[in-house]
Symmetry: C2
Subunit: 197 residues, 2 copies
Amino acid sequence: MRVHVVFAHPSSASFAGAVRDRVVRALIARGHEVDELDLYAAGFDPVLTPGEWTAHVQGGANLAGIGPEVERLRKADALVLVFPTWWFGMPAILKGWFDRVWAPGVAFHLPPRGGPLRRGLTNIRSFAVVTTHGSPWWVIALGLGNPGKTVLMRGIAPLLAPGAAIRFLALYDMDRAGRPRLERFLEGVERAFRSFA
Amino acid sequence: MRVHVVFAHPSSASFAGAVRDRVVRALIARGHEVDELDLYAAGFDPVLTPGEWTAHVQGGANLAGIGPEVERLRKADALVLVFPTWWFGMPAILKGWFDRVWAPGVAFHLPPRGGPLRRGLTNIRSFAVVTTHGSPWWVIALGLGNPGKTVLMRGIAPLLAPGAAIRFLALYDMDRAGRPRLERFLEGVERAFRSFA
């Protein structure tokens, strides 16, 4: 498969960077083709422009500023997101990748009479998210119902191919995790992606 | 009260812009002082920088690029956010305002032994969110448990003053709403903010 890996962290030397490295290594070992987009390294601008907004409200899309990103998304057989969870959700640079690149006619189609979006990315048959949280699991999942996971797994994943495989791998309470627990998480990630399909 | 109104939409001619106008008008009529931050008009960059991230992991904050925004947040007695909900959450430009401006030592304090964040913005005694959704209420609230509302009202609001008043005003199914329903929403918003305290 051609796997589009989208990475959103200001530093490759971070733990998220180490996660990304393991994901990519395991995918290549598995024989997949990896198309990596490092949003920070690419200088991606996450702010939806007035021109893009105007096109959206007219029912279309202005892809002039995001052509290559759209092309890579459309060519992917699988999508993997690697990012730290900040404020219970994606870093702004990744949120804006959705705001801009997941445009009408690309990621979804608006039903003429309103209601839920219709799926647009039926090329993507496999979807995985790997993220880290500073907060403990009980704060995020028990206390808040894991809003970041809900958005991706239940809000966004239904726009992919029907029956697409979805996976959510998360490390919680990272701020208190010692080296052994971090290392175990990395190993778990690598193991998971060595059988990625 | 000094009310910090943060607006996140690429166009003031949008419905969100009309909502913002009503909010500001009602607050002024009520006798409040309004400090408005239009993130798009200000050209706010929502991307947390490598230098800011490095400061965070060292337990501090690098406020060099966000001094004025931090100052305005610290001086506020109340905070009002006006934005369209995109992909079940805030536009990237507003998400990044949290990522960058709600820094350690400003919005929260990290407990030395981990666990939930401790509140930092005890100056803010009143908090309101006004947002719009293209999707119907049943998709957002029944189907997904309203993740965007959860993040703001249950994840973020606890960092404000103990007992702070919180309000969430939302329009759903905007894509199918006719002019009368939009107008009723605007009137409801204005009424709500005419008694804002």
